[in-house]
Amino acid sequence: MTMGEVIEFIERFAKVSDAPVRTGVDVTSVRRAGDGYHVTTSGGEIRCRTVVIASGACNRPTVPPFGDAVPASVEQLTPFDYRGPDGLPDGGVLVVGASATGVQLAAELRRSGRPVTLSAGEQVRLPRTYRGRDVLWWMDASGLWDQRYDEVDDLTRARRLPSPQLVGAPERTTLDLNALMSMGVEPVGRWAAVRDGRALFSGGLRNVFSLADLKMNRLLDTFDEWARTHGRDAEVAPPERFAPTRVPESTRLRLDLRGGEIAAIVWATGFRPDYGWLDVPVVDEKGRLRHEGGVVDSPGLYALGLPVLRRRKSTFIYGIEDDAREVVDHLARHLAVRP
């Protein structure tokens, strides 16, 4: 789907559902009042018995605290500020983070002719297509995406998993570290600290790469196993395996940020939700909403659209549907009980 199609899809949904959508209205406060909630918005007050928090998982970019120690001569941007290579000062760029956002920005910046260094921590490597099908087809068809939050081994980990290295280009190319290195992007380890104007990177890049390769291969094994046991081998191409991520002979552990080599830093270090407006004590010390499958720890308060809320697919547009049905069931039962 193109951007325009996605907008049309959502607008049509608003029309069909006939819900009273109020656009351009900011919720500035939600607090508990009587048996429900008092909601203050830029467009007036609302009293209600239930609230569904669907404010998204990506309201604010996260930047590690040592960003403050970066010399002022280096421009710093988050994906919220970044519009394209032209908006950056001339010179080299250090992209921090090698997940969906970081790999795409690194590729775009490199294609614009700039020297690009990519600091890579834990990452989720995926081929765009596998055995002739889009990898998302496999996720869906094999049932992986339907895996429920109460079946996942380590839910905290699953909820914190970085986004996969996937790009939605029409050519359906794979954009992993090997592809980026072939373009001339220089990988360095996870950025650990700034000392005396120098960025210090972890020497553990090799293991970050092996973990990503091992996990990808394990996932492909589960796809193969599923295809075999479900008699689907004939409709897809034969199993394939991809070259391990090439580890450079040596990676730089230090980069002088005052030396002029790096003109700008793009932080692609993830996003977090913003609950500054939520005056109900349901947010933990790390700023995460406390909830059990979208049922928040306050009567009548619900959430949707958070990572692995109820399923692995919870943060995808089409993935929210099953979650919404279950969460709304709970909400309806709550409303049915008159206080």
């Binding site: 600290a193 000392r195 210090l200 972890s202 553990g204 293991n207 973990l211 091992l214 394990r218």
Partner: protein, 182 residues
Amino acid sequence: MTTVVNGVNVQALLDAREALKGAPEAAQFTWRASSTWQNGVHSRTTIQNFFGLGQEQSHKTEAVFDADHPEVFAAEDNGITPIEYLLVGLASCLTAGVASVAQNRGIQLRSVEATVEGAHDIRGILGVDSDVRNGFNDIKVTFTIDADASRQDIEALVAQSQKRSAVFDALTNPTDVTVEVA
């Protein structure tokens, strides 16, 4: 339940992990060592007490480590060199990690051997060339593992062990170190 016996009490570790989720103060440990100069470049370091789980703790016995330089450095070789102690730490930490992860994943280990090599250009410490660093240039660990598992599972054990290793982290990431005179 798993019948794998690697001698690691994984349940206790998992219980500790749960318990410490709500008690970050108890998770604060301080490890301590005291060293005394002997003669020349020979020193003796002893370790017995540490702090953790909110109180003073003690090893069953005091451990003593002699560090010196080898004869090729014109020293008496009363013990291994200090930088070799880093290899001891890395090998033992990763090995402990392999055993713990194997236990947790239900993999029976028969033997786990590791060789560790640290490449060191001593022109740094001798001040021959200021472009050469004092520490290791790189470290290579090679594991030989015999276990009831595929090669891929064994590689995953070793990768996970690095991911959770204190010494691997201490060596690969910078640490703020303060040295002062009392």
